[in-house]
Symmetry: C2
Subunit: 219 residues, 2 copies
């Protein structure tokens, strides 16, 4: 049986997994779970993902959640092109870069956090966008400092795109969500430009997903 991804057009973690699958040329089917309307809390999805988040990867009766764990698993499923270096130091660098957004910047701007800010502190749309802009800026600024130490060439670890680039590109998509200019982050902007020239990245962009187009048409 083929690869199934439970994902959502707007989810940055779903974007990451989509890009990885396409860089590897692995065909997959994406089943939408609308996390804005709370579909992840329905009992039928709880059976798929005990964490009630997207994406969930299903292949051959086996289920994996968390985008980093999924992408790492894809390396075993099909080693080429390699997205995570085999050299221990390079791998650590790739993982560190990935975790800047996965573990630090991105968790703070997910729908559940935005909803909780509104419910708890009565944050309005404006305050929530400011919040998103603040943490997204922090992530971009970290990447800019890191890319100053070790310039991208043209991707974070060298000539081929990999896990780190996927994660940085996702952070740039978040910046688009909160209407942040990349003016102050030229190295990040350049790297993302290189990424989105590739079909695997471009076609995985949230705004290219059927769910986005349907949501836009409905408005």
């Amino acid at each position: 049986m083929g690869i199934r991804i439970y994902g959502f057009w707007r989810s940055i973690a779903s974007f990451r997994v989509r890009v990885a699958l396409r860089l590897k040329g692995l065909p997959f089917e994406e089943i939408p779970v609308d996390i804005l309307s709370g579909e992840q809390f329905r009992p039928e999805y709880a059976a798929v993902s005990a964490e009630r988040v997207v994406p969930t990867f299903v292949h051959d009766g086996h289920t994996i959640f968390q985008s980093l764990a999924i992408i790492e698993y894809l390396e075993t499923l099909q080693s080429e092109p390699r997205l995570i270096p085999q050299d221990a130091k390079e791998r650590a660098y790739a993982k560190s870069l990935a975790l800047v957004t996965v573990a630090d910047a991105h968790p703070l701007v997910t729908p559940r956090v935005r909803n909780h800010l509104a419910a708890t502190f009565g944050a309005d749309a404006h305050a929530i966008e400011d919040w998103g802009r603040h943490w997204t800026t922090e992530g971009l600024a970290t990447y800019e400092r890191l890319l100053a130490q070790r310039p991208a060439a043209p991707f974070a670890l060298g000539p081929e795109p990999g896990l780190a680039d996927i994660c940085i590109a996702g952070q740039v998509v978040t910046a688009q969500y909160v209407k942040l200019e990349l003016r102050d982050f030229p190295a990040v902007a350049r790297l993302a430009e290189h990424c989105f020239r590739l079909p695997a990245f471009a076609s995985s962009h949230p705004f290219e997903q059927p769910g986005y187009k349907a949501a836009k048409a409905a408005h």
Copy 2:
């Protein structure tokens, strides 16, 4: 030259790295960076960590940041005892469990977030503790559901502790910070009990660090 860790007694990510080093029996020196008073923003630390977070791992002139990347690197430095399974599916499961706290629950309760809540929404100590309790509960509840699907025996992946247990134990320490009882999370509580019976976990607990004892004595 030996292993140096820039860490902080209260930092859960520092706790994770400490446990991993001790499970592997790797000696290390911990240099405290007081993230409550903002020492991570000092220029001399910025030279160590461009992300300005703890922990940072330094060994043999090489620097790694982000706890998961560090722990994975330790596997190469000394493979035994193995903390991350070699089997791809088991490894994916271990990583998924780790990321529940690393990528979802824990980022929301770090000092920088608590400070930003106070600065932005005027959240007082009580509101910030509620916020911490909310997200910590979410993480514990996810772990409880996951451990119901695949019971710990007695550790998350089997008879030996590893990455997943380190991360779950860290989530339990966070629960202690926000004064959450584990009554509703018996499987998590049992797993943590097994962890903290081991010296590697017990001696790495934040309250066992010199920084905590000094801070307590000063109050």
